[in-house]
C-alpha cells in the first residue's frame, strides 16, 4: 500500500480546517436525518412491515430466517440515529470522517430500502450478490486503467476495447463451440487493440486522449456494424455461445449471504477477484510493480537507472488491454451468451471513475467498483419494486450517495505524476 506520510512542517502547525468540516458534516448528518424523516418517515404507516429476504433461490447456502422489521419504526430509528450522530459530531467531533460518511450512507440506504419495500419483501442477499457480479466488468475496466496509468499511459479507450472483445468472444465461442477459446480470443483482441494504442502514443507520441477516443469510436462503430450486418442474421451460428457455468466452491458456498455472493460465480468473476489481489501484490511488492510506478511518476529517473521506459509502457498497456479483454468477455460469454449493440453501456468509463476513486490502487479500484455495482443493482431492484418516485430520481439517488461517500472518504486523488505524458530523452 502507499501510505502518505506528512512532513514535519516548519513552524506552527494548524491542522487543515477540521473545525469547518466538522460543522459541515454535522449539519449534513442532521439534514440527512430530517430528509429521512420527511421523505420516507411520513410515507410509512404504523403496523406495516418490511421483509428483507436473506436467501437466494437455487443457492447452496444454509437457509437463514428472513429479517422482518416494522417499517415506520425502522425509518424513524434511522432518522434519529442520523440526527443523533450529527449532533454528537457537532459537539464532540468524530475522528474518522469515514465513520461519519458511513453513517450517512447506511442510515439513508436502510431507511430508503425499508420505505421502498414496505408491505413487501426485498431480497437483500440477491441484491448483494448481484452487486458483486455487476461490479465485475467495472473492476476489470478499472484494473486495465490502473495497470496502464501507473506506467504513465492514459487509456480511455477501455470502453471500445471491451465492446470489441465482447463481440470477438461470443463469435469465437459460438463458432468453435468452446467458451475457453472465446475467452482467449477476447484477451488476444484486447491485447492487440491496446498494442495499437501503445504503438501510437509511445512511438508516434499521438495524444493519448485522441487515440483513446478513436478506439472508442471505432469499437462502437465496428461492433454495431458487424452486429447488424452479420450477427443478427445468423444468431445461431455466430451469436449464441452460452455462458460459463456457475462454479460453486464446496463448503464456502454454504455460508449464508457470503456464499451466494462470493462463492457461486462463474470463472470470469473469480478471475477478476484473483486479478485484483494479484495485481495489488505485484504493483507494490514486485520489481515489475516498482518499475511501473517509477516510470509513471518520473520516467527520466527510471531511465537513468537503466530501466527501459518505453518497454515498461508497452508491456503495461498491453497487459491492461488483456484485462479489459476479459472484462469484454464478461458481457457476452460471462453473462448473457450473445452480443447486443453497445452492450457495455458505459461500464468502461465507470471503470475509469472507479480507478480514480480507488486512487489508482487495484484494491481501491475494486472497492469503488463494488459501490458502483451496488448502485447499479439497487437501481434495477427498485424498478422492480415499483417505488412511487420518478424512476429518473431513483436512477440518480444511489450515484449521489456514492459521490458523497467517495469524495468525502477518499479525498483528492492524485494521479501518477507523469500520467499522460510521452517520454522523450
Amino acid at each position: 500500500m502507499t501510505t502518505t506520510t506528512t512532513t514535519p512542517p516548519v513552524g506552527h502547525v494548524i491542522p487543515i480546517s477540521t473545525r469547518k468540516s466538522q460543522t459541515l458534516y454535522g449539519f449534513v448528518l442532521i439534514g440527512v436525518g430530517l430528509l429521512i424523516f420527511l421523505l420516507f418517515g411520513l410515507d410509512t404507516e404504523a403496523g406495516v412491515t418490511t421483509t428483507f429476504g436473506m436467501n437466494l433461490v437455487g443457492s447452496e447456502a444454509v437457509t437463514i430466517p428472513n429479517i422482518i422489521v416494522p417499517s415506520q419504526a425502522t425509518v424513524f430509528l434511522m432518522a434519529a440515529v442520523a440526527v443523533f450522530i450529527g449532533a454528537f459530531h457537532l459537539s464532540r467531533g468524530i475522528r474518522s470522517l469515514g465513520v461519519v460518511l458511513g453513517v450517512i450512507a447506511l442510515t439513508f440506504i436502510i431507511a430508503f430500502l425499508t420505505w421502498a419495500a414496505q408491505d413487501k419483501s426485498f431480497n437483500l442477499t440477491g441484491m448483494i450478490s448481484s452487486s458483486f457480479v455487476r461490479a465485475t466488468p467495472i473492476a476489470l475496466a478499472a484494473l486495465c486503467g490502473v495497470v496502464s496509468e501507473r506506467a504513465g499511459v492514459i487509456n480511455i479507450g477501455i470502453e471500445g476495447i471491451m465492446l470489441l472483445s465482447a463481440q470477438v468472444a461470443v463469435v469465437a465461442a459460438t463458432v468453435t463451440q468452446n467458451l475457453w477459446i472465446g475467452l482467449l480470443m477476447a484477451i488476444l483482441a484486447g491485447a492487440l487493440i491496446a498494442a495499437l494504442h501503445a504503438f501510437l502514443v509511445i512511438r508516434f507520441k499521438v495524444d493519448q486522449i485522441v487515440s483513446g477516443v478513436a478506439i472508442n469510436i471505432v469499437g462502437a462503430g465496428t461492433t454495431s456494424f458487424i452486429s447488424s450486418r452479420f450477427l443478427e442474421r445468423a444468431t445461431d451460428t455466430l451469436n449464441n455461445s452460452g455462458t460459463f457455468p456457475i462454479i460453486k466452491i464446496p463448503l464456502l458456498s454454504k455460508i449464508p449471504v457470503l456464499g451466494p455472493t462470493l462463492f457461486e460465480n462463474n470463472i470470469i468473476v473469480y478471475l477478476m477477484v484473483f486479478l485484483v489481489i494479484a495485481l495489488h501484490l505485484m504493483l507494490f511488492r514486485t520489481p515489475w510493480g516498482l518499475r511501473t510506478r517509477a516510470v509513471g511518476e518520473h520516467p527520466k529517473a527510471a531511465d537513468t537507472l537503466g530501466v527501459n521506459v518505453h518497454l515498461v509502457r508497452y508491456i503495461n498497456v498491453i497487459l491492461g488491454g488483456m484485462i479489459a479483454g476479459i472484462g469484454g468477455a464478461y458481457f457476452t460469454i460471462g453473462s448473457v451468451g450473445r452480443f447486443d449493440e453497445i452492450m457495455t453501456a458505459g461500464k468502461g468509463f465507470i471503470g475509469l471513475a472507479a480507478m480514480i476513486f480507488g486512487k489508482w490502487n487495484p484494491i481501491g479500484a475494486f472497492a469503488s467498483s463494488l459501490i458502483f455495482g451496488f448502485a447499479d443493482s439497487l437501481q434495477v431492484k427498485l424498478q422492480i419494486l415499483r417505488v412511487p418516485i420518478p424512476s429518473e430520481f431513483l436512477l440518480m439517488a444511489p450515484y449521489i450517495v456514492t459521490m458523497i461517500i467517495l469524495t468525502g472518504v477518499v479525498g483528492r486523488a492524485i494521479p501518477p505524476a507523469a500520467d499522460g505524458q510521452p517520454y522523450e530523452k
Binding site: 512542517p9 516548519v10 501484490l281 520489481p287 516498482l290 527520466k300 537507472l305 537503466g306 505524476a417
Partner: protein, 514 residues
C-alpha cells in the same frame, strides 16, 4: 598512478549548437577532478555522454585504459560509472529504499521485492561513508541535502567507483555543503574517483586535485589547484577578467516602498509557514532575507507576488494594499519578480525566447493592439534585450528550454528589468549561475537600487546576502529573528540567527525594528 577514465576527442552537436568540441579529459585514480565552465559550456552534456544518456558524434571513452562503448546508462553502470544529476532523479512518492533498488531489485523467492536486504545495505553504506539517511523515509519528505545523499547512495549501491556529481552544491545550504565535502573525502579515502562540476570557485580550490576548464564546448586548459586563485579560474572560465567583489556606494534609502504587517501565510500543504512577519523595504535599498532554506522565505515571496493567498496581515506597496491581489495586479503596480524556481514561475520553456521576453505585459501596448499581438514589436524587443543583456543563444526564435540555466535566468532578468518598477523581489537570483553571470546580475541589482528601486533579495548564499544587502533580515521557522544593519552583519552572527539563536546582547539592534 593510473588514469581510471579518459575521454578523447568527444564531440557533440545539437541543432545549431556545438555543445562539445573535441574534448579530452583525464580522471586520475582516487582523485577529485573539478570541471568548471560557464553556463552552457557543455559540462552536463559531456557527463551525459559519459553516462550513456547522449551518444557522442565523435570520440572515444577509456575506462582503466580500455576503450568502452557506452550506449545506455546500463553500460555506464556496468563499467562502474555513477552519476548524480544536476536535477535530482528521485521518485518523490517512493521511499529511499525503493529509489535505491530501482533497476537492480533483489527479490525474495524470486518474486517479491526484498526491501530489508536493500535497507540493510543502505545502512551499511551510510555507516561506511557517513551518509546518514532513513531507508524507509519518503523522498518527498526529505530536505534536498538528504535527497542528495540518497543519490550518492544510489550510485554506491551499484558499486560505482567513478562518481560524477553535476553541480551538487547549487541547491545546498552552507552546512550541507560542508557535509558533502566530508563525504567526498571519505569516498576518496575508500578509493573512489570523482568528477565534480560546480560554479563555486572557493569549493574548487579546497576540494579538487585537478581542475579542468571548459568554455564554449572546448577545453580551455587544466590547472593545479595550488596555483589557482578565484580570479585566475574566473578569467579562464569567462575569457576575461571578472570582478568578484561587488562595487557599490552606500545606499541612499528613501521612503518606504514595501510595508509588510504581521503577515501569516500557509504553504500549499496548508501548514502555516510564515508566522507573523513584519518588515519594510525603502526606495533605493537592498533588504536581504537570509535563512536556511525552508524557513518560510519561499512562501513569503509567493505571498508578496500573489502566488499564495495571505492568511492574515497586510502588504502595502507605496501605500496601496496588495495582499491577496492577483499577480497581474501586483506586477502592474511595479513589482518585478525573479522567481526561485525559474523553470516553473519565470519562463514558459516551450515558448520561444521572444515570447518569454514580454510575458508580463503581452496584453498591453506596445506588444498588443486590440486583440492582436504586434509580432514586429515583440521580436524587436527581444533582439534588443538579448543584445543588451548578453543572452547566449543562436537566435531569439529558439525555445527557452534549449538555453542553459544561466541564460534562462538572463532572459527573466532582462524581461523584469525592462519595464518601470518600484520594487524588485529577487529570489535566489544567481542559483546555478557562473561567475560571469553572477557578476552581471549583481551589478544589475545594484544599478536598480541606485535608480531608486526597493530590492528584496532572498538568498540562501550568505556571500550573496552580504555582498548586496544594506540591511539583512534573518528568517527562522517562519519568523524574522532579527534585522541587522549590513555593517554589523557577518557570517558568524547571521549563522547563529539562522539557527534560531540570538547572538549575545552585544549585537546592536537595528533601530527600525519595532
Amino acid at each position: 598512478m593510473t588514469n581510471v577514465l579518459e575521454l578523447r576527442g568527444i564531440t557533440k552537436r545539437f541543432p545549431g549548437v556545438l555543445a562539445n568540441d573535441k574534448v579530452d579529459i583525464t580522471l586520475r585514480e582516487g582523485k577529485i577532478l573539478a570541471l568548471l565552465g560557464e553556463n552552457g559550456a557543455g559540462k552536463t552534456t559531456l557527463m551525459n555522454i559519459l553516462y550513456g544518456l547522449y551518444k557522442p558524434d565523435e570520440g572515444q571513452i577509456f575506462v582503466r585504459g580500455q576503450e568502452v562503448d557506452i550506449q545506455s546508462p546500463n553500460d555506464a553502470i556496468a563499467r562502474g560509472i555513477g552519476m548524480v544529476h544536476q536535477h535530482f532523479m528521485l521518485v518523490p512518492v517512493m521511499t529511499v529504499t525503493e529509489n535505491v533498488m530501482l533497476g537492480v531489485e533483489p527479490t525474495k523467492n524470486g518474486v517479491f521485492l526484498d526491501h530489508d536486504k536493500v535497507a540493510d545495505r543502505i545502512r551499511e553504506i551510510s555507516d561506511q561513508y557517513g551518509l546518514e539517511v532513513d531507508p524507509h523515509a519518503y523522498i518527498k519528505d526529505l530536505p534536498v541535502g538528504i535527497q542528495q545523499r540518497v543519490e550518492i547512495i544510489k550510485v554506491l549501491y551499484r558499486q560505482a567507483d567513478i562518481l560524477i556529481l553535476d553541480e551538487p552544491t547549487a541547491v545546498l545550504t552552507p552546512q550541507e555543503v560542508e557535509g558533502l565535502f566530508r563525504i567526498l573525502q571519505t569516498l576518496i579515502d575508500k578509493g573512489k574517483s570523482i568528477i565534480f562540476i560546480t560554479h563555486k570557485l572557493k569549493e574548487v580550490m579546497n576540494a579538487a586535485d585537478d581542475i579542468t576548464v571548459l568554455r564554449l564546448g572546448r577545453i580551455v586548459g587544466s590547472i593545479d589547484p595550488k596555483d589557482a586563485t578565484p580570479e585566475i579560474l574566473a578569467s579562464m572560465m569567462v575569457g576575461r577578467d571578472v570582478n568578484l567583489v561587488v562595487m557599490k556606494q552606500p545606499a541612499k534609502p528613501g521612503e518606504d516602498v514595501l510595508k509588510v504587517n504581521d503577515l501569516y501565510v500557509r504553504d500549499e500543504r496548508k501548514n502555516m509557514t510564515v508566522n507573523g512577519v513584519s518588515f519594510d523595504v525603502c526606495k533605493g535599498e537592498v533588504l536581504g532575507v537570509a535563512g536556511v532554506q525552508g524557513n518560510g522565505q519561499t512562501e513569503l515571496v509567493y505571498a508578496l507576488t500573489g502566488l499564495l493567498p495571505v492568511e492574515s496581515g497586510e502588504i502595502y506597496l507605496s501605500g496601496t494594499a496588495i495582499h491577496n491581489k492577483s499577480p497581474r495586479t501586483i506586477l502592474e503596480h511595479g513589482v518585478a519578480h525573479i522567481p526561485e524556481d525559474r523553470q516553473r514561475h519565470g519562463l514558459i520553456l516551450s515558448f520561444p525566447i521572444y515570447d518569454n521576453m514580454m510575458l508580463c505585459t503581452y496584453y498591453e501596448a506596445p506588444f498588443a493592439k486590440g486583440v492582436s499581438l504586434q509580432e514586429n514589436v515583440i521580436q524587436n524587443n527581444a533582439e534588443t534585450l538579448v543584445k543588451q543583456y548578453d543572452v547566449r543563444t543562436p537566435n531569439i526564435y529558439v525555445n527557452a528550454s534549449a538555453l542553459s540555466g544561466g541564460n534562462q535566468q538572463k532572459v527573466i532578468v532582462a524581461r523584469e528589468f525592462s519595464r518601470p518598477i518600484q520594487l524588485l523581489i529577487a529570489s535566489q537570483p544567481t542559483r546555478g549561475l557562473d561567475v560571469g553571470s553572477i557578476e552581471y546580475i549583481h551589478n544589475q541589482i545594484i544599478k536598480k537600487r541606485d535608480e531608486g528601486t526597493g530590492v528584496l533579495l532572498v538568498s540562501s548564499e550568505l556571500d550573496e546576502i552580504l555582498a548586496l544587502s544594506d540591511r539583512i533580515a534573518v528568517m527562522y521557522k517562519g519568523q524574522i529573528m532579527d534585522v541587522l544593519d549590513a555593517k554589523n552583519a557577518n557570517k558568524d552572527n547571521l549563522g547563529l540567527l539562522m539557527a534560531g539563536v540570538h547572538p549575545s546582547e552585544s549585537t546592536q539592534k537595528e533601530e527600525r525594528l519595532p
